[in-house]
């Protein structure tokens, strides 16, 4: 069923459709204030008909402004001078020069947009279905009686469960809601969808689902999609054409294959196969003695009832989790957000009380190990975001000195503290002028290096890396991973590496554990899990790694 046949308003399709649906010519945006800073500098590019064009660039390169100008929304932003022209196939007028009424028609029926966070673009007090019907009514598309049936048909057609129609936005996951927001744009029968970072906030599995959904939409209805992202993996998976934007300038537009064969793009990729092979051999030489043993770890949280009179419920975050970490291991704990990964980390460090189960460190149970005061010198943690894990009101020096003094094994004289400080800086490749800075003044990579230095200050045996590199960009991730590997070999460290990123864990870990909703689904060596996954969930997780067919 073609939605065009059900929906009234058939647009006058130009029969000999040109190749390009959108042509952006010399688009220029500058600030209206005295600085006259140019945000977009004479941009020219095309969006091909019935294809997915990806607009790639770092944050601040002008991606979103480009998207807004294509939709004509840039008119409503104050303080900007816009020049140039954007022409849509079949429309005579320049989009940038349209008046309000024409723009409303244009956005309602020809082009629409999907935003990054679906939870903010939906009204939480109405069900999903109602809101889609609203879109339909707004565009005067069809009679309201059939609207519900029509949308339900669309649900089945695109393979979304029909019951989601009656659900409220908060009941759905990010991925499901993003799919519904894509569907909501479809009811007005657009010819172009602008998707502004639609998968950035999603976990691996739902990201794959949303990308597949977009592909399906494109293939089924022949809609062109402008996909804006900085995620090269997703771009590689979905797009046909790639436009690279850097600091307001077009660096070039490429076919997909051409783009990913460029040498500088290759560098940014984390896993180049040769390297991962050689590094693994080093990791493998782990000593077979147990360092840490976790037995039947269970933790429940009290979740408050959402309604006024509903009772509090116990919510089980960890359900009998057991694993062992050997000396010299890099032990990966993998799971989606909310699966209890961080709770494991904090239970190991005894930062939160556990309900039952035991953690045995170097043959002693945790209470016993803590009693001799050296426990926190043996086990350390590096958290995800350096901004929040470093006290913003203290400078780096006092943070590091605080950590060095915490080492109870050695006597801390002023000289020894100073020499240790120097050693720490040299070990994590930081220069001396970092010492006087506060955490807000550090870049992400520097901040994470300071966090690592703080963990190393007490000369630990085990470091728990709780999503330590997730908030960094790919290049920095690679550098930090190299640093961690180097440190591991020099200082005989053991890592517990908590992540949601499968590729990194494949590269970095030698044994992994996969966690789903607080239960251990599968654990074993990296090869056995990645090559021969036994559990259904593991297979799904592995499928979500974006491997493009070409």
């Amino acid at each position: 069923m073609d939605i065009g046949s059900v929906v009234y308003l058939k647009k006058v399709f130009v029969k000999n459709s040109k190749e390009n649906i959108i042509e952006v010519i010399n688009l220029e945006v500058e600030l209206e204030n005295s600085s006259r800073e140019k945000i977009l500098k004479k941009i020219c590019f095309d969006i091909k008909n019935k294809s997915i064009t990806a607009l790639v660039g770092k944050s601040g390169s002008g991606k979103s402004l480009t998207a807004l100008s294509i939709l004509g929304l840039i008119k409503y932003i104050d303080g900007l001078n816009v020049r140039g022209s954007i022409s849509f196939e079949g429309i005579e007028k320049n989009i940038l020069e349209m008046d309000d009424k024409e723009l409303k028609d244009y956005r309602g029926n020809i082009a629409s947009m999907i935003f990054q966070d679906p939870f903010t673009s939906f009204d939480p007090s109405k069900s999903c279905g109602e809101q889609i019907i609203e879109v339909l009514e707004f565009n005067r598309v069809s009679a309201t009686e059939n609207a519900e049936n029509f949308i339900l048909n669309l649900f089945t057609e695109l393979g979304i469960e029909r019951r989601l129609f009656f659900y409220y936005p908060y009941m759905l996951s990010g991925g499901q809601l993003q799919k519904i927001s894509i569907l909501a744009t479809l009811v007005s029968n657009p010819r172009l969808i602008v998707a502004d970072e639609p998968t950035t906030n999603l976990d691996a599995i739902s990201k794959k689902e949303v990308l597949d959904f977009l592909l399906k939409v494109k293939n089924k209805y022949g809609i062109s999609i402008l996909y804006i992202s900085h995620d090269l993996e997703a771009v590689r998976y979905i797009s046909d054409e790639i436009v690279l934007l850097e600091a307001g300038k077009i660096k070039g537009s490429y076919k997909k294959n051409v783009f990913f064969e460029q040498p500088n793009v290759q560098n940014e990729k984390l896993v180049s196969k040769r390297e991962s092979q050689s590094d693994k051999s080093i990791i493998k030489s782990g000593n077979e003695r147990k360092l840490l043993e976790v037995k039947n770890l269970t933790k429940t949280f009290l979740s408050r009832g959402k309604k006024i009179f509903s009772q509090n419920k116990l919510f089980r975050v960890l359900d009998k989790v057991s694993f062992e970490v050997m000396r010299g291991d890099v032990f990966g704990i993998i799971g989606e957000s909310g699966s209890g990964k961080s709770t494991i980390a904090r239970s190991i460090l005894d930062l939160i009380p556990k309900d039952s189960g035991s953690v045995i460190f170097m043959g002693k149970s945790l209470d016993f190990a803590k009693a001799n005061n050296y426990f926190y010198n043996d086990v350390q943690v590096v958290f995800q975001n350096p901004l929040s894990s470093l006290n913003p009101s203290l400078n780096v020096k006092s943070l590091l000195v605080e950590a060095i003094v915490a080492n109870k094994r050695v006597n801390n004289s002023i000289e020894s503290v100073n020499s240790k400080l120097k050693w720490l800086l040299s070990v994590v490749d930081l220069s001396k002028d970092v010492l006087s800075k506060k955490s807000r003044q550090l870049s992400g990579g520097e901040g994470q290096r300071v966090s690592i230095a703080r963990a190393l200050a007490v000369s630990p045996r085990l470091i728990v890396l709780d999503e330590s590199i997730s908030s960094l960009d790919k290049k920095m991730q690679y550098k930090i991973l190299q640093l961690l590997l180097k440190l591991k070999n020099e200082l005989n460290l053991t890592y517990i590496f908590i992540t949601h990123d499968l590729e990194i864990s494949r590269y970095f870990c030698n044994r992994i554990l996969i966690l789903q909703k607080g239960r251990v689904v599968e654990q074993g060596s990296v090869e056995s899990v990645f090559v021969r996954p036994k559990h259904e969930y593991t297979k799904r997780l592995l499928n979500s790694i974006l491997v493009s067919d070409s």
Binding site: L351, P353, Y376, Q380, N385, S389, E402, A403, R454, V458
Partner: protein
């Protein structure tokens, strides 16, 4: 605009501190045979007595807050005719019924406002921190104590309240004569220490018990906040036999600490979720260290806002009390007591307008400073 409020804060503090040098009936510097003297600092100097010294420097205003000018008694208007020996001795803002200078009263009232404002807010801050810093850090599920120490604490608390309530009991112990004043407290202490030792040996009493500190203390805070303020003040003040500034300070602090405590609690609940608290804990540092070194600076940072607003409220409350005549003792003067003079004579507008303006400007200043700090922090 930002500058104006800080300038007026500076003027307020300056006048408050140097009131004695600005408005006084004693000269600042005198010269006699022995050399220079400073009568401002001495109580012996009397006005209108034949002093043998030569006045070198007089204060700007020639009157103190309670110096009575009999010639100009009966509410003389600032613009009216005044009986003056010298031109400089003019009552710029008029006089009240007894002939006291209004301007001198305002200047000395600033000192009282400053004193009461700062010290009662300081007391309220300490009380608020005591009642909320530790409870909010530990929350409901993290503070565990041995049953034995819990019992001892309860017994001690009971005795404290008992002896405070029956003041005479303490006095009778201490005044029975002989060495009783050493012997009886020592016996008491001994009993408690013995109790402690025996209890900590018995298995049942060494059990760890979870104490919901946060719920307990926040209930107390809520309880204090739901008391009707003015009513409580009237009752508390009637408990004191003699009026004094310190009573007022204590009463206001008792009334104001729950606001501070709630601010501290809210801020602590936010701060303790931060990762850097956990990271410090993971370095092996104690909770005490974390609270004082890492949490308290952040907590105090945002409590300053509450202090600024509380300061304004304090001044208003003190004025209200003084206006009702139950505030500060009669030999002091505050803006509120000046205002109450206006009740005797409705035509004397200067008795109402000037103290009213002083109160108004000060409160406006502190409220806008509070707003400014709040917008800076967020």
């Amino acid at each position: 605009m930002i500058r104006i409020k800080y300038i007026s804060l500076f003027i307020f503090v300056f006048i408050g501190i140097f009131a004695d040098f600005i408005a006084n009936d004693k000269p600042l510097i005198c010269k006699n045979k022995e050399g220079y003297t400073f009568p401002v600092f001495s109580d012996k100097y009397r006005v209108n007595q034949d002093n043998k010294c030569e006045i070198i420097l007089n204060p700007i205003i020639h009157y103190s807050n309670n110096s009575i000018d009999k010639l100009n008694a009966g509410s003389i208007s600032p613009f009216g005719e005044q009986n003056l020996a010298e031109k400089q001795q003019r009552h710029y803002l008029g006089t009240d019924l007894l002939g006291r200078d209004v301007l001198a009263g305002l200047i000395h009232g600033t000192t009282i406002a400053l004193k009461i404002g700062f010290s009662s807010m300081f007391l309220a801050l300490i009380l608020g921190l005591m009642m909320s810093l530790y409870p909010s850090y530990f929350g409901d599920f993290e503070f565990k104590a041995k049953l034995s120490s819990l019992l001892i604490t309860i017994i001690l608390l009971f005795f404290t309240v008992y002896f405070l309530y029956y003041k005479t009991a303490i006095i009778s112990i201490l005044t029975t004569g002989g060495y009783n004043f050493i012997f009886i407290p020592a016996l008491f202490l001994g009993i408690i220490i013995a109790l402690w030792f025996t209890l900590s040996k018995i298995n049942i009493f060494t059990r760890q018990i979870l104490i919901p500190l946060d719920s307990m203390f926040s209930t107390v805070i809520k309880l204090f906040q739901s008391l009707p303020g003015t009513f409580v003040v009237l009752i508390l003040i009637s408990l004191f036999t003699k009026p004094s500034i310190y009573n007022i300070i204590i009463v206001i602090a008792i009334l104001k600490w729950p606001i501070i405590a709630r601010y501290v609690r809210a801020e602590m609940l936010k701060i303790k979720q931060e990762r850097f608290i956990e990271a410090t804990k993971a370095l092996g540092y104690s909770n005490n260290y974390i609270i004082w070194k890492h949490a308290l600076p952040h907590v105090l940072n945002s409590t300053i806002v509450a202090l600024a607003f509380g300061f304004a409220g304090t001044i208003l409350l003190e004025s209200t009390l003084s206006f009702l005549g139950i505030g500060i003792p009669a030999d002091h003067v505050s803006w509120g007591s000046l205002l109450s003079e206006a009740r005797h004579d409705f035509t004397a507008w200067w008795l109402a307008i000037f103290p009213g303006m002083a109160i108004f400007i000060t409160i406006l200043t502190f409220n806008s400073i509070g707003n400014h700090i709040r917008s800076k922090i967020n």
